[in-house]
């Protein structure tokens, strides 16, 4: 491979950090040419998101000694990205972000290989994520962070002393910005708090009560949300609102203006309409650069040990003066995601039966019904045909998972989608889970499904410790004997 021969002087500056010993370094640091070469050859880093943070991250990582990078993003380039997503040009508008970003960085930094993935993060098999040493998150959504966090924490295994197994730890570095503010954090599952342990750091968005929108609007945002959430469905029966369709946006704007005039409320503008409807977070190049750089540095520190890693949450605030604060958050010992898993005890005869459930489903999600049924909300009727494993997942007080798919040691036991897989795995439903798991008395299974969070369906992944009654005791005795 010709391009793997890199003249030493290209890493003139980085070599000082990687080749020389130091006293303020990480516990695993072994300086030398070998370390530098290992970072190049073996370290595999995934960047999640190719937006404002993702573009910076790819550049920073490519210039921090990493050669094997991959990037995943489902979005296409828009004009409003150009004020900060510096890898994109006007002529790129409409193309997939991941692909253009990967191409641009490879053009400029020779020897670097970046594989783009233009798809949703949920589209990838869980095992895809296990292929990387470190996952770096440059996302603007809580749901996406939560998902990747659950995936990475899902690989974590605990030994019999309840200590995390070193080789199953998948570190993450997470960045986020809003205007002049941002955060960078290091998540080492099982060691530092995971995203879910400190979910309270991201309070749910304030939603306006529907009665305010319908009856007593007081500001421009109320008028806009009335047009967007109520009026749209009244007029366009059944047609879904698309925030990316400018015609739809203009319609909402003009309806919001009418409503504002009716109530004598000032301040409805097209720009505000977009901001409210799309929940646009203001973003500038400098903050993205700062936070990404901090994340890239932490990635380098985790991978090489060349300095002590951030412990564990950095906040940056440039609104007034400049404040950088590092807080050491602690793990939530009962965390569903990074803990040792929720224990489910089953009889060996329990089958992996499917539960047919009828919920308000799609009727609920179409706006008009929300208004009509507003006070009945929360009433979801479930028709149960069989009380079996998958059903237990829905009923479990902590899990509340519906539409569950189940995997065990990489093997699909039951998949809801795609249809081909569903068909292939359907026959498993009538088989005992104990048999499906190869008669292992106690093991981890992974379940993906949807759960309700703040009245919103989100995909999630949970790790379950399944133990079979009766033979469980035998195992414990075995283990006690071995210890």
């Amino acid at each position: 491979m010709a391009d793997s021969i890199v003249t030493p002087s290209r890493s003139r500056d980085l070599d000082k950090l990687l080749l020389r010993p130091g006293n303020l370094v990480g516990p695993t640091f072994e300086p030398g040419v070998e370390l530098r070469d290992d970072l190049r050859e073996y370290a595999r880093i995934l960047v999640v998101g190719a937006g404002g943070l993702g573009c910076e991250l790819l550049k920073d990582l490519a210039l921090s000694g990493f050669k094997n990078l991959e990037v995943i993003d489902m979005d296409r380039i828009e004009v409003s990205n150009l004020n900060r997503q510096f890898l994109f040009r006007v002529e790129d508008v409409g193309k997939p972000k991941a692909e253009v970003a990967a191409k641009r960085v490879m053009e400029r930094v020779s020897g670097v290989n970046i594989v783009p993935h233009f798809c949703r993060i949920e589209d990838k098999e869980i095992e895809f994520y296990n292929d990387f040493n470190i996952i770096v998150l440059g996302l603007d959504s809580i749901e996406a962070r939560s998902y990747i966090n659950a995936v990475a924490c899902g690989f974590l295994e605990y030994d019999s002393d309840d200590k995390p197994r070193e080789e199953t730890i998948k570190p993450m570095v997470d960045g986020g910005t809003e205007g002049f503010k941002g955060h960078a954090r290091v998540i080492v599952p099982g060691v530092t708090p995971c995203f879910e342990c400190t979910i309270w750091l991201f309070p749910p968005q304030v939603k306006f009560p529907l009665c305010t929108l319908a009856e007593t609007p007081r500001n421009a945002a109320h008028c806009i949300e009335y047009a967007h959430l109520i009026k749209w469905d009244e007029v366009h029966s059944g047609k879904a609102f698309d925030a990316d369709d400018p015609e739809h946006m203009k319609w909402v704007y003009s309806e919001a203006v009418k409503r504002a005039e009716l109530f004598g409320i000032p301040g409805v503008t097209y720009s505000l309409t977009q901001g409210v409807v799309k929940n646009i977070i203001p973003a500038i190049a400098s903050t993205n650069a700062i936070i990404s750089a901090a994340c890239a540095l932490e990635t380098l520190k985790i991978a090489s040990g060349c300095s002590k890693t951030l412990s564990n949450y950095l906040t940056y605030n440039g609104v007034e003066g400049l404040h950088i604060k590092v807080t050491e958050f602690v793990r939530d010992k009962d965390c569903l995601v990074c803990g040792s898993g929720v224990l489910i005890e089953l009889d060996t005869s329990v089958t992996l039966e499917k539960v047919f459930s009828i919920s308000l489903g799609s009727a609920v999600t179409s706006g008009l019904n929300i208004i009509v049924d507003y006070h009945k909300f929360g009433l979801v009727c479930v028709l149960v045909l069989g009380v079996e494993f998958i059903h237990q997942l829905e009923q479990h007080p902590k899990l509340l998972l519906s539409k569950a798919s189940v995997t065990h040691r990489g093997k699909n036991l039951y998949m809801q989608a795609p249809p081909v897989l569903e068909e292939m795995t359907r026959s498993n439903l009538s088989l005992p889970l104990y048999d499906l798991m190869g008669k292992i008395p106690k093991d981890i299974v992974h379940v993906t499904g949807t759960t309700d969070k703040h009245d919103k369906k989100t995909s999630c992944l949970r790790k379950l410790r399944v133990a079979f009654k009766g033979i469980d005791g035998v195992t414990d005795m075995d283990m006690a004997g071995g210890a």
Partner: protein
């Protein structure tokens, strides 16, 4: 070319059209275009800065490709300034980009008047001696200056300007301006039109909390010899009183009133920060005074006269549970008062301008309006000359930080960044820049650090061996990620000092 309004949408939501206009008017000069300088400019070019001039005398080496994204293979051997400039231009064709192949140190020595053409200079990777000289040049020419430096895993950003006055500082947590502790007659009169004991539950739960608090405060003062709740007991009692007025559990307006009751207890009058500004000697205006200080002078008069001890009213109210009609009426009352205060201030501004012999219309109405709206949040920052920082350090401050666990490493690097420059002045290279002489460099750097500490008046203090070793290990390396971080901070500070004052 993309529509600028769409392209800049995400940043216009932060600094508005005015901020964008200031950015587009600015001409920025960059000294040294290594990664720290290049990354600083990249962020500014993306944001639509008016023009950039890149100054660097060096040629691109292979090692530069390892830390600077603006350079690729084809640049090796070429002028670094030219190569970086060409890449930056590619990012945004609305920016005027040019370069000069010259060493900044030489320009500072031989052509100081060169810098006066710029709005702002970003000086990266300069050593102490050049910093001090450039600082003096820019200060005399009234050019803003920002220093940025990346050094191993350490870095520094230093702003140097005479004075930075901010009208729209947009602090994070700032109390809204409702005057619940001191309502003016029109607001009082509006509150009087409500009956808190109205039996209709719909009317009761749609009475805005502003009205509830004004009426209840009045009731309280009548019963307490004219004074508002001040002790903890009284405050608690006041909240209980509010609670007792509720006629149903779901009355959000009363819950809001209880939550906002501290606004009634807040002291009247202006904050100590604002008092300091109106008492600043610059508020005694003369023919050299800037528009900002002319407006401050007007504000000072206003507070002493029509303002009755208060700054002009901001005029906006937060959202609160209310019927639309009451809310809109309340909004109108606040806006009318804000408008009246603005007119009073404007009149005073025009009179002061006349006295100073200036064109009375020269400060735009919109600027005075913005000044009034933000009067409570005005900010004045002044920066010392680098020379003064070096020659008359605040010893007590330094001593405090040197011994503080949270700050000692940062201050240690601050001292070491100065020590490496002394080292370089003596030995023509930075400590650890070349392999082989590590031990010698460590002991030499230690000596340099001791001399810096002693010049700073911190004779008893020492830096840890670990820190000195670490600085030598860095060997003046400019790591890309550190440069991107320092450059990011520098560009953010540039944007902040350029935004309209």
């Amino acid at each position: 070319m993309a529509e600028p309004k769409t392209k800049y949408d995400r940043q216009l939501r932060i600094w508005g059209e005015q901020g964008q206009a200031a950015l587009e008017k600015a001409s920025v000069c960059l000294l040294n275009c290594g990664p720290t300088g290049s990354e600083t400019l990249k962020n500014l070019v993306l944001g639509g800065i008016g023009s950039i001039t890149v100054i660097d005398g060096s040629k691109v080496e292979l090692g530069d490709l390892g830390n600077n994204f603006m350079l690729d293979e084809s640049c090796v051997g070429q002028s670094k300034a030219k190569s970086v400039c060409a890449f930056l231009q590619e990012l945004n064709d609305a920016v005027k980009a040019k370069f000069i192949e010259e060493y900044p140190e030489k320009l500072i020595e031989t052509n100081p008047s060169f810098f006066s053409q710029f709005t702002l200079v970003v000086a990266t990777q300069l050593v102490e001696d050049s910093m001090v000289k450039l600082d003096r040049i820019c200060r005399d020419a009234n050019v803003m200056l920002i220093f940025a430096r990346s050094y191993g895993l350490a870095g520094l950003v230093r702003i140097s300007l005479k004075e930075h006055t901010v009208i729209e500082s947009k602090p994070d947590h700032f109390l809204d301006d409702l005057r619940l502790n001191n309502p003016w007659p029109e607001l009082r009169k509006f509150a009087e039109t409500f009956d808190l004991n109205v039996p209709d539950p719909v009317a009761h739960k749609h009475t805005p909390y502003v009205v509830i608090l004004i009426k209840m405060a009045e009731e309280w003062t009548k019963a307490h010899g004219g004074s508002l709740p001040s002790t903890r007991e009284e405050k608690k009692e006041f909240k209980e009183l509010l609670k007792s007025k509720m006629i149903a559990m779901d009355e959000d307006n009363y819950k809001e009133a209880i939550e906002a009751s501290f606004k009634v207890f807040a002291p009247r009058g202006i904050s100590s920060d604002l008092r300091q500004i109106i008492n600043d000697s610059h508020a005694e205006v003369n023919s050299n005074s800037s528009d900002f200080w002319v407006m401050v002078a007007a504000l000072k008069e206003f507070i002493a006269n029509e303002g009755d001890g208060e700054a002009p009213l901001e005029g906006s109210i937060p959202d609160m549970t209310s019927s639309t009609e009451h809310y809109v009426n309340l909004q109108k009352i606040y806006q009318a008062k804000a408008e009246a205060d603005f007119i009073a201030i404007e009149l005073r501004v025009r009179n002061i301008q006349k006295k100073l012999g200036r064109e009375p219309g020269s400060i735009p109405k919109a600027m005075i309006k913005s000044f009034c709206k933000n009067a409570r949040k005005l900010k004045v920052c002044r920066y010392r000359l680098i020379e003064d920082e070096f020659n008359s350090p605040s010893i007590s401050e330094l001593q405090k930080y040197l011994t503080d666990e949270d700050y000692s490493v940062a201050v240690g690097f601050y001292i070491l960044l100065r020590a490496v420059d002394r080292f370089a002045a003596n030995y023509n290279s930075f400590p650890g820049e070349f392999d082989g002489a590590m031990d010698e460099d460590i002991s030499r750097l230690k000596t340099a650090a001791v001399s810096v500490l002693s010049d700073l008046g911190c004779n008893g203090s020492t830096l840890t061996e670990d820190l000195i070793n670490e600085m030598c290990r860095f060997g003046a390396a400019e790591l890309h990620a550190v440069a991107a971080l320092i450059g990011g901070i520098a560009s953010q500070e540039v944007i902040k000092v350029l935004s309209p004052s």
